[in-house]
Symmetry: C2
Subunit: 254 residues, 2 copies
């Protein structure tokens, strides 16, 4: 097992930002400047073509860290951020750009590409979680959530299905094709986001993925608008979802 190595530290707006590596995988851990001890942890998966410190990640982290007092960790997905692209990555990305340029359906390309990344990323996330829980300010007993949209869902659904330490999850904006079987094994509370007029992911596809989760407690949030109109207030809703579920878990008897 790889332990976690901190490589940089800074601090602003009540939030401590620490870069780390676990083995070859770079990540970032955001924590409250005070009162972080044994606080809940939210793992966040970034979107395709983005990276661990994308503004969407930093913005959501700020809400979770200073709003809820939680820790937030993000790692770069394979071929993303500070990680090298493999020949396979280059080929998949080229195929995706080609489909987009030709106005061909990109679904089949994204589904296959992201499923391959998920196979690599799930064990990386599990190793990162092992290492994060070794930190005294996190520990092995606290509640853990997962928050990832698009590629973050393609990786997160198999991760949450495989990982009993994760007890609440927010997903969205992904085709169901490679994910339905894993979704059927997920029973923790889920909030799922989709765009009602998504020009990339058919409405029925989004509804089918939401339908597949076995969770007794699950909520669909569907907003009017196209794929990239995904409204910012859903991040606030996700924060409230984690505050409700991870704080409750923290308060529950062991």
């Amino acid at each position: 097992m790889h332990s976690l190595q901190f490589t940089a530290e800074s601090s602003s707006n009540g939030m401590v930002e620490r870069d780390f590596t676990v083995g070859e995988v770079p990540g970032v851990l955001w924590s409250p400047a005070s009162g972080a001890d044994r606080a809940p942890l939210v793992l966040m998966g970034h979107g395709g073509g983005a990276h661990k410190k994308h503004p969407a990640m930093a913005g959501r982290a700020q809400r979770l860290v200073t709003g809820c007092g939680f820790h937030v960790a993000v790692i770069d997905a394979p071929g993303h951020g500070d990680r090298p692209r493999s020949a396979h990555d280059e080929q998949d990305v080229a195929e995706l750009r080609q489909a987009q340029a030709a106005h061909e359906p990109e679904g089949p390309v994204v589904v296959r590409y992201n499923a391959r990344l998920a196979e690599l990323a799930v064990p990386e996330w599990q190793a990162a979680l092992d290492a994060l829980q070794e930190l005294p300010e996190i520990g092995a007993e606290g509640p853990v959530g997962y928050f990832g949209i698009a590629l973050g869902t393609a990786i997160g659904v198999p991760l949450v299905a495989a990982e009993p330490r994760i007890t609440a999850a927010v997903f969205g904006l992904m085709w169901p094709d490679a994910l339905v079987e894993a979704a059927k094994r997920i029973t923790v509370p889920v909030e799922f986001d989709m765009q009602w007029d998504d020009e990339r992911i058919p409405r029925e596809a989004g509804l089918a993925l939401f339908d597949a989760f076995a969770s007794k407690e699950k909520t669909l949030h569907a907003n009017a608008g196209k794929h990239f109109d995904f409204p910012r207030f859903e991040a606030d809703s996700a924060v409230r979802f984690f505050a409700r579920h991870l704080d409750r878990a923290a308060a529950a008897p062991a």
Copy 2:
């Protein structure tokens, strides 16, 4: 035009409760104990078999009044609360009980019954809104929202379609059959609630009503569970929705 007559007043938990009548129609107006001047107004429609002061109404009002500083008004629907039941009401209710007892589909009965109530209730609501806006603490310029689930949606959809003074609405838990044409004329922001496993209203029916709204900004909240599992946290979400839309309207230049 009937003016509004106050018939009783009490106060608790920072909320002033005033019973009123507009013509023959009894209602209740809840207001902040202080700072109520020219605050936004939310009209709330109660559910079938309930009444203006049902605990669900009082609970939502408390959140809107003390949480947001808004006024909230509810009137009894025809044949509900303090209003007499007509022979037609008795007949519709008997037919509904019969269908439920025989485990027959209640949709056709509810749709017809509630559409008849809506025809009566829409002009009553418009007269009540006229009278409420005559009150100096409300006024004719402030933003107005509408919040009604089930029967409150059966009445609210034609009301909001007909009433340009209402600029944001929360609906849910109703068959689309009698409402689709009115929904297509609604363009204000809408939040719409449905139960994913509703044993009374088919999933496709709920999705069809959400789909019908012409609003550029609309959000579907679908929760796992049966009809009466409708979760209480959706009331909190509705309150945030009105805080977002009615305060923004209040702040906009005239």
